[in-house]
């Protein structure tokens, strides 16, 4: 009964989305009502607990919504002032073959962006570029969602990576090595998924000659950067090495004609790219300057449910750093874009008003869905529902648990939309199960982080960002259906590798069990 009730809101959400094909807003609304009712009537969450959990959910939603509004605003600006046209024409000049454009942008360029900014930025930047290059909307969205998912755990300058070793208290470098083993499988699987989305099995075969050598170079770079302890740069340097390798392979194999000159219209390529380059530059600058003290955050008291589930107090919840949160950085880049458009004499006040109106229309629906989903996630976590579900599954599966372990990383990301949050919820749990089973805790923790990484492609936050950026608002169920299979397939592969490492080989990373 407890197992069934603990997972009811999620089953209901998926049923409404995938079977009844309802919009995310409606599905989220019904799922959150059920989550509140189950938490109150079965899991002993009183009104104080509900108030705190729902308020936490809404403050977390604020954190994410600021990114979505800023990113859609930037995209609309770049689109309406035709800067995206200049970027696309130049991509075509350098990479003539559409399949290579698709694979390089969805699998590697999005991962480079994940290495720097993360938080959905790769999706909102790369999806519109692919669509304007002429690729199908749904294929572009699913390819980017899956393509960059392998890089989430080491991305965002290492934020998820930091979380997994903070919650498990295990050695940072050893967890890094364990994560790299699983990430090698994840990057290959996601590369092939992108190829499959592009053109089925024929293109999976065609992609082998690019994906395998590129992944080999990336895994060597990944291990080296972890060995050098440059934790924040693992994702970025690995993805850059992959991008360079794959482009070099393309030049060597296809020997394309060199472009005589760059394409330019009202803007040249540098001007068109300036807002995006600013995002990268400002993200790096603010990380170096460490201006984290200027921040807005929320304080929440701790509480205990009637069933005895303890929730700790939060001193600075959903911290929005003025010089660190992506929204202010994106808005600064928007400002740079506006200055450039004015200098290039293409600035138009009416066009700008149109940009603002389109942003409001696109973001309102997304915002409503997101508030429901994040509030549901917080109610489930703080009432002990998520914990009860995990404990029950671990009890039922017993010695076969390593095979099912990736599902928790994915579940954590699915309900919260974040690899970091998935690691917060399940990191310690996975380690405890590994200790109880007498298997290596580093491997299990590494698996948690990487499965959480691929699970981000199913996260409602990311999916809603992608649907807003691609104009597929209200068609999220289509995106879910297309993303679900490759994620579950990759989870199965990760589970098998985990089982082999832990039960068959009994690998001993970190020197302890």
């Amino acid at each position: 009964m407890e197992l069934l009730l603990s997972v009811t809101p999620l089953i209901l959400l998926l049923f409404c989305l995938l079977v009844l094909k309802m919009s995310t807003g409606k599905s989220g609304a019904i799922a959150v009502i059920f989550a509140i009712a189950i938490a109150y009537f079965y899991f002993g969450m009183n009104t104080t607990g509900l108030t705190i959990a729902m308020s936490k959910g809404m403050s977390l939603a604020l954190y994410v919504l600021l990114i979505i509004w800023a990113a859609v605003f930037l995209y609309q600006l770049v689109y309406d002032f035709k800067a995206i046209n200049v970027i696309n024409k130049n991509i075509i000049l350098f990479i003539k073959e559409p399949f290579i454009q698709f694979l390089l942008l969805a699998w590697l360029f999005s991962s480079v962006l994940q290495g720097i900014a993360g938080f959905g930025v790769p999706v909102v930047i790369v999806v519109p570029i692919l669509i304007h290059l002429g690729f199908d909307r749904l294929s572009s969205v699913t390819a980017v969602l899956l393509g960059h998912s392998w890089s989430v755990s080491f991305g965002s300058m290492g934020s998820s990576f930091f979380t997994i070793f903070l919650v498990t208290n295990l050695d940072q470098q050893s967890i890094g090595y364990a994560m790299a083993i699983f990430d090698f499988a994840a990057m290959i699987m996601m590369g092939f998924s992108v190829c499959y989305i592009y053109g089925g099995w024929e293109y999976v075969k065609k992609g082998i000659k690019y994906i395998i050598p590129t992944s080999l170079v990336m895994i060597i770079v990944m291990f080296t950067v972890i060995y050098l302890n440059l934790v924040s740069l693992v994702g970025l340097l690995t993805a850059i090495s992959g991008l360079i390798t794959m482009y070099s392979l393309y030049l060597l194999r296809e020997k394309p004609e060199k472009p005589k000159e760059l394409y330019k219209d009202n803007l040249n390529l540098g001007q068109a790219l300036a807002p995006y380059i600013s995002i990268i530059g400002l993200s790096l600058l603010f990380q170096i300057l460490k201006l984290g003290k200027y921040a807005l955050s929320f304080e929440y008291p701790g509480f205990v449910t009637d069933l005895g589930f303890e929730v700790a107090a939060e001193a600075a919840y959903a911290k929005i750093k003025i010089f660190g949160h992506p929204a202010p950085i994106i808005l600064m880049s928007v400002l740079i874009g506006i200055l450039i458009y004015k200098k290039a004499n293409i600035w138009n006040r009416d066009k700008f008003k149109n940009v603002v109106n389109k942003t409001i229309t696109k973001c309102t629906k997304t915002s409503i869905s997101l508030i429901f989903l994040i509030t549901m996630a917080l109610v489930m976590m703080d009432s002990g529902m998520t914990n009860a579900f995990a404990l029950n599954v671990a009890r039922i599966t017993g010695g076969l648990y390593p095979l099912f372990a990736p599902l928790f990383g994915i579940l954590g990301s699915f309900i919260t939309g974040s690899n970091t949050n998935s690691n917060v919820i399940f990191g310690k749990f996975q380690m405890s199960v590994a200790t109880a089973l007498g298997v290596n805790a580093f491997v299990m923790s590494g698996l948690q982080s990487i499965s959480g990484s691929i699970g981000v492609s199913l996260g409602p936050t990311t999916i809603l960002m992608a649907s807003s950026a691609s104009g597929l608002n209200g068609q999220e169920s289509k995106i879910y259906r297309k993303v679900l299979k490759p994620v579950l397939l990759t989870a199965a592969v990760l589970g098998i590798i985990n089982y082999i490492l832990l039960v068959v080989i009994k690998v001993n990373i970190g020197g302890v069990l």
Binding site: I36, T51, M54, S55, M58, T364, S367, I368
Partner: protein, 48 residues
């Protein structure tokens, strides 16, 4: 229009919930929870 109203209604709900939790005021909290549920029901029954 209804979507914009639903979206805007989250602002007072958030204020009520946050004040309810930080001031440990049950009345404000319950009011916030009920308003949130009401908005979720409106969202569910709204056609577009």
């Amino acid at each position: 229009m209804i979507k914009k109203l639903i979206f805007l209604s989250f602002i007072p709900i958030f204020i009520l919930l946050y004040l309810g939790s930080s001031l440990q005021n049950t009345t404000l909290g319950i009011l916030g929870i009920l308003m949130f549920i009401a908005v979720a029901i409106i969202q569910f029954v709204t056609k577009k």
